[in-house]
Amino acid sequence: MKYEPVIGLEVHVQLNTASKIFCGCSTRFGDEPNANTCPICVGMPGVLPVLNREVVEKAVRAAVATNCEVAPYSRWARKNYFYPDLPKGYQISMYELPLAVGGRLEVVVDGKPKTLRIHRIHMEEDAGKLVHGENLGDPAHSYVDLNRAGVPLIEIVSEADMRSSAEAKAYMEKLKSILEYLEVSDCNMEEGSMRVDVNISVRPAGQEKFGTRAEVKNMNSFRNMQKAIEYEMARQSELLDEGGRVVQESRLWDANRNVTVSMRSKEEAHDYRYFPEPDLVPLLVGAEWVERAKKSLPELPDAKRQRFVSSYSIPLYDAEVLTADKPVADYFERTVQAGADPKTASNWIMTEILRVLKERGSELGRPPISPEMLAELLKMIRDGVISGKMAKDVFAEMEATGKNPADVVREKGLVQISDESAIEKSIDEILAANPEQVAGYKGGKTKLMGFFVGEVMKATKGKANPAVVNKILSKKLSS
């Protein structure tokens, strides 16, 4: 039978505040274990959490940027469960009265626009980190680092609107892009500052009622999330085809084996017995606060994309690629401001600059090649100083050394020969040396043009301006 998947995503995002959500400990990543801890975040009896205002500020910005309705009155709750990474035996979260509800993201999948709804956004504290014994000496133990305990999180819960792994990926990309634009989170999936849990069920195509869902955790990249979704779609469809049934459970993605496995240990823990957190007073985010947050929003990806199309006359596809990452979008604008033609700049950024970034894994914050340098390079092509092909070599040298394009061109003696008399002299020599090919060309073998161009390039060590070479050759051969 043919099945359709129904997918919802729960995304946890660490907010990039300096201090934790309920105490003054640093949120810095990578410190000595338990260096950033105090009686509050290790859960000593009798201590009181006090809410970090900046956490609310950033969460509200995320909520309005994703078109959510911010609640005028929200409340903290205790989510009770026992696990060694949770020192208090409960996580301070929000339950019945979350911060915001009812948002949406606009995505484009396979050229078709689609609205994916957000169910709710709430704030909570992160748990600590467990290190398994074999990585630290004693396999009989696990070790607990509470530096992460109390780091602020927002949980963004989608509606079950997605019908393919590609739609899930588009949702994640758009969400990540918006949160990066807002500068409220690093959104680094490998480091865990952005984490996604997938709720997925399948149903026979055409059926209205949802099937039983499984929850999949532990995917540290969009690629793995897509693979996990596709694995679950196949697993659940096969189960149903064989007359079995899907069990509601949590499953773990195993990236080494490309499978999901049941997490039996967590099954019993689902009775969280939420109740209102007595240590924290209610949160009142009034209309004025929401208005202020809306006014403080930067230009978001969708708006920037539209502006790139209308102001720079670049194709929608280019605008989509360039605006996905704010630093890349900024890089493009600075290159154009430095005098580059928008479409040429777009082509180079989408290929060379994005390739360099991918290879180096470096952020554009420390650009290997500044927008001004790229603009200068593109200007040299436009002015005919170097050919497009030479420019690739110059770029490679700039990438390796960080030198200015003009310096690279001078040092390598790459300056293009556009002087017509010099090129004409070279062409005359080549035509004189190859009478057979000249006769052949004149007899109709026009493909020989490539041979002549090649010979001229060889003779000039690739420095001749191809446009000039073509022009003179055509003239000479047709006479």
Binding site: T17, A18, S19, G24, C25, S26, E32, P33, N34, A35, N36, T37, C38, P39, V42, M44, V50, L51, N52, R53, E54, V55, V56, Y73, R75, N80, F82, Y83, P84, G89, L97, L130, V131, H132, G133, L136, G137, D138, P139, A140, H141, S142, Y143, V144, D145, L146, L252, M263, S265, D271, R273, P276, P278, L280, V281, P282, L283, L284
Partner: protein, 94 residues
């Protein structure tokens, strides 16, 4: 009246081990609490706004500033077991 199974389930979720007479005692005490709540449930509260907190206030904040009033090494001092700066616990199997 709570059943002893229900009392044992709640105890398990709360990480408590009840033995012998403790089960019956917990059934009696928890049932008493529930009876009290049921009594409150009989009141008509349609006109009473829900109470989220006993204090009539909201929006208590601190600024986003890192403070170190506390030697973090003390964090580990009460732990029954520790190693290399970590809290040490029995192995957790996933």
């Amino acid at each position: 009246m709570l059943t002893s199974e229900e009392a044992l389930k709640v105890a398990k979720l709360a990480n408590l081990r009840l033995v012998g007479d403790e089960v019956a005692e917990m059934v009696r005490k928890l049932s008493g609490v529930l009876d009290h709540i049921n009594q409150l449930n009989k009141l008509d509260t349609t006109e009473v706004p829900p109470t989220s907190h006993v204090l009539d206030m909201g929006n208590v904040f601190r600024p986003d500033a890192v403070t170190e009033h506390f030697d973090h090494k003390l964090s580990l001092d009460n732990a029954p077991a520790r190693s290399r700066g970590y809290f040490s616990v029995p192995r957790i199997i996933e």
